[in-house]
Symmetry: C2
Subunit: 229 residues, 2 copies
């Protein structure tokens, strides 16, 4: 029976972890490995791609493939809709729209999303609750030049994220994680003390080159975003 890509990957991995292939050393090319394992080159290629994704090997077109001396680990985080995040915990989801206004995009937002002077934006402030307790505060801007239909959308019953997902199925995004202090307004929304440290996600998304939205998501105190890899 031919070796599967999982078997090939496991074998290469053990050669690296057991030190048979030292950090920095060149490893055999795909043709040679395919012969060694008696499998298709595509099988070796898939194993090698995953090992590269895992940060264990470095593939260079001309210089060949080497064992990385300092692995760059990649962590992958699922970014689900907050409704799903809450329901996956077995909690009841509730949504509330706290504020809605059409405004000229402020300077910082124009800079961040590369909008033209005078661009109009829809500004929404929303809360997401788990079993009645504050879970996440959402401060959202939607670029009305790119998404004029947002001005007519009803955000009183469902959050803008769900509306965006249904309206624009895909986009590129820039996401960043940081820590912020609860100011008086956030402390009120999240029912915590002013000055509490809050885990924060900021995300800007584009669709086919146009910026469509910027959001700052602030979680209740103690929130942890966890993944295994």
């Amino acid at each position: 029976m031919k070796a599967t890509y999982r078997e090939v990957k496991a074998d290469i991995l053990s050669k690296i972890t057991k030190g048979h292939w030292a950090p920095g050393s060149l490893i055999p090319n795909e043709v040679e490995l395919a012969e060694t394992y008696g499998c298709a080159r595509a099988t070796v290629n898939r194993a090698m791609r995953e090992l590269a994704d895992d940060g264990l090997i470095e593939r260079r077109r001309k210089a060949g493939t080497r064992v990385r001396s300092s692995p760059v680990r990649q962590a992958r985080f699922d970014i689900p809709l907050v409704r799903r995040e809450i329901e996956d915990k077995g909690a009841e989801y509730r949504y509330s729209l706290a504020a809605r206004a059409v405004e000229e995009a402020p300077d910082w937002l124009r800079a961040r999303l590369q909008l033209e002077a005078g661009a109009r934006a829809l500004h929404l402030v929303c809360m997401h609750y788990a079993n009645g307790d504050p879970f996440q505060h959402e401060d959202r801007w939607i670029n009305l030049e790119a998404l004029p239909e947002a001005e007519e959308a009803d955000f009183t019953q469902t959050g803008p994220n769900e509306w965006l997902v249904a309206t624009i199925p895909f986009s590129t995004a820039e996401i960043s994680f940081s820590a912020a202090l609860a100011d008086a307004a956030l402390a009120d929304f999240l029912a915590c003390d002013p000055g509490a440290p809050l885990f924060t996600i900021e995300r800007a998304t584009w669709f086919e080159g146009d910026a469509n939205t910027f959001v700052r998501l602030t979680y209740r105190p103690g929130h942890r975003m966890t993944t295994r890899y």
Copy 2:
């Protein structure tokens, strides 16, 4: 010329984003798609895997592949060595060991790493500087039952992360991001005010089933961890 997987992926993506294939709908199987695009099934498979990784489609062995109605976006973060993180910013890296002690693993650590009663651990407190300014505080525990050689290792010149990477090329990890407040000790180390909000990464790693280390990395105020996807 045969279609490449990138071309296949781009075409399927445009069918989804333009709404030709609606959210929730079943999409043709790989054999049919390979015929449509005049390419190998492996080419279609690779395109589909990436679209699934991107959270756009959901693949089920028996039920077939559907367009996701609510995409689960995955964000990938590179977790490089802090030396590399600092040097990549063009800054000069400096390392300092602030404390070293061999201790009986405290209860919380034993629980977290599933260590036996009486397990010994090496506790290290380190600082990483960028151009002389505090960048990251590292509070590290190494399980001496799994890695007894750590007790003899010299951590005065290079940090434990670099030693671990050289000693244990691969492991599984649990990683979490959160926000913490600077206490008096952290404020001293990071040259910030007590009460400042600090972005924090905690990571536990295992190698072949044995827990080897737990670390809490606390960044200077204002630190952001950013990625594009």
